[in-house]
Amino acid sequence: MSGTPIGNHLRRLRFEHGEISQDALARAVGITRQTIVALEGGRYAPSLELAMRLALVFGRRVDDIFFWRDEPPALTFHAPV
């Protein structure tokens, strides 16, 4: 559970939404409080489903909440010739 390249604004969003507790947020999206703690600490990167659930709870898009900590890796797509 070391650091992941994905960061998030969960802590800030919790406070912007009436200082919702970690436990209440965890219950709202169907996970444990410990996972919210790990997410906020940047030690865990969620699955796409969990990321979308979190986005739904806060009424945001996934990329409003999650971001690359550093420059994203240079990925290129080579179309078949």
Binding site: I31, T32, A38, G41, R43, P46, L50
Partner: protein
Amino acid sequence: MIRILSITLLSLLLGGVLAFGATSWPIRPGLVGLGLMVLAALAVRNYWLGLELAAPGSPERALWLGMSSAAVIAGHLMASLWRIGPAMELHTRAGHALGTDSWTLVLGAAIAYRIARDPEPRHDERDAAIETRGLRAGYRSLVGVLLALILLLGFGVGRVVPALSYPLIAHLLITAVIVSCLVSESVQLHAYWLDRSLEEKEA
């Protein structure tokens, strides 16, 4: 980390002590073990209740209970096998005592789990990822122990194998399965500990 190791070793030791009490104690060692497991579960439940939000999650609690119970059972089984010796037979006084005490300890483990488990169990994808890591380690350890047994049974035909009874070989295989469970649970507990220590460091 020290807590994981010390609880595993203490539980193994308790199992060993119970095995060596089989012939001399006025009460069945299995019942003593069951009583100790229940008392420990009550104490742990109260401790976790006191921790409130800082208490471990449902899967971690189940791992602590499973790991300590499996260690007691493994310690008892290994020490009993050592005490009985390679010519172990099932339908003897020692064989019956081993069976009765082992199953009493399994009952104790089930009661202890029932007492101290999270009353409101919750687990999620992070727990599943940690479980996968533990299962992988448990599988590898099982393969390792089985390889050692295969080598023993395959190449020890002349000297070692004739001395081993079939019930003993069967119990060695049971021990291998319990040891792999112990490895799996310890690896998972280590992952939770690592995560918590990083959290404390950041705080």
